[in-house]
Symmetry: C2
């Protein structure tokens, strides 16, 4: 057994999701796909509504159908919070199920939290300890001491918002500072002083491929979590050409285009088909880059 | 009965928390105090631990003891999320209790949320509909379409982070833009184009009184929610001198210094004493300004 495989087994046993393990998964699955588990309870197919926890039943079917093609799952907490305590139960169940059945897949809690230090510490405990997520998305506005508590957890990841995929990203993220840099570059430049590429990633929207290339120059080794492919209109090949580094360095997320590919009984098969379509496109891009 | 009193009764009956009602409460209670319900479950006094929901029992006692001196209560969601689904139940119970017993007091969910439009919409529903909060704190980084869904709720408030009370505020909020303004001023200048002073407030930390005066120049009519008095070291009189406008325009928050004023059986009485001490200081400041 090679050293890499031993390290990988230790990581899985100890429930680590470190950089080596993530790179290993990307090569093994020939994929850098993250499936967004944005299980809007109003959009669930009728077939899952008979279950005691329809959202969990839906997620479970989606997870089973797509885990072979994905290296990460990303539930956005809003879709769970909207249902109060019941929603939190669905989220906890979903993450526990992934950890049990697919411990090799990274779990990203897309929460976009951030608060003063003692409060961020509580969020970090909620997501990393209680929920056992491997990574949390964090908003940068409140600065280092709002991010630091999340970085205090060994083998866990902070994914900091840099340039988001939505239209409103132009309101503040593109403002030019007096050092003639857009604000999102200032965020990246400062944050890479806070943590290495084995603990910090950045959110960079697929809708800005040119800017993605610019951010890659400032953060050559860091992973980027890239939302906005699919329903939001971002293009996978453009993203890969702009943002891929020599070991991949990308997690590309698709949510609605996969999980709501069909609203009929075949929703899980349709999700698998769409996830596999993206995986095959990613395989080709990884081959072109010489990573596979 | 004067017109103002009629309007006030209608507001309470219809569960509105509009600007007139808030100003009326400030004059009536001679206070602009917001009590932060940051009920860290590890810090609760022993006397509440026998209850089925110790956090709610604690909050209920604090609310009953301080409602006479406060115009707003502000639970920070982190302290509830840290306890998962049980924590959400405590939070829902707490807000329901305030709405039932003290409908004249504003409830601010300190959540610092913000996401792409369809996702922010879910957060807005969670806090405004499910939880019945009157206001939610929102992070500005993702721009207009991340804030707009919260503004779509009539008679509800967005409280946007402008200049926060923590040390990390210097990392990004103070960056100078090429129009020679600090970033937090750009946030204020843009956001006042999104909503009027009857639906939008700003978070401005008590630890920056000089900057508070600067923000007041840009947003003369808007309320500021001011955290950082008490445990974080901000000074109430300095805040009032820098930020008060002709109708008050301030909600000054204190959390730990009130709710954890004592860890013994007398915790509620100690909270009331500290809240009243702040209320009396506020009464004097309101009188000095000619508001009372």
């Amino acid at each position: 057994m090679c050293q890499c495989q031993v390290a990988c087994i230790i990581n899985v046993i100890e429930n680590y999701m470190n950089r080596d393990h993530l790179l290993e998964q990307i090569r093994k699955k020939k994929s850098f796909l993250c499936v967004g588990l944005d299980a809007d309870s109003q959009l669930l197919p009728d077939v899952v509504r008979q279950h005691a926890d329809p959202v969990f039943a839906f997620n479970k079917a989606i997870i089973d159908a797509t885990a072979a093609f994905a290296v990460a799952f990303k539930p956005n907490t809003a879709f769970y919070e909207a249902r109060g305590a019941d929603g939190w139960e669905s989220l906890l169940r979903t993450i526990a199920y992934i950890k049990e059945q697919y411990p090799e897949v990274m779990v990203i809690a897309d929460a976009k939290r951030g608060d003063i230090g003692n409060t961020s510490q509580l969020y970090a405990r909620a997501f990393f300890e209680q929920m056992q997520a491997d990574a949390v998305t964090v908003a940068p506005y409140m600065g280092f001491d709002s991010v630091a508590p999340f970085l205090g957890f060994k083998h866990k990841w902070v994914i900091l918002l840099a340039l988001t995929s939505n239209k409103g990203s132009s309101d503040f993220q593109y403002l030019t500072t007096d050092s003639q840099q857009p604000f999102y570059i200032e965020v990246v430049k400062k944050a890479i002083q806070w943590a290495h590429a084995d603990q910090l990633m950045f959110v960079v929207g697929a809708t800005h491929p040119a800017e993605l290339a610019g951010i890659r120059q400032h953060a050559p080794d860091y992973f980027f979590l890239v939302p906005g492919v699919g329903a939001q209109g971002g293009d996978l090949a453009e993203v890969a050409h702009a943002g891929m580094n020599s070991t991949c360095g990308l997690l590309v997320n698709a949510s609605r285009s996969i999980i709501f590919a069909s609203s009929s009984e075949d929703f899980a098969e349709a999700a698998a088909t769409e996830a596999q379509r993206l995986q095959l496109a990613m395989e080709e891009l990884l081959q072109q880059k010489g990573i596979l």
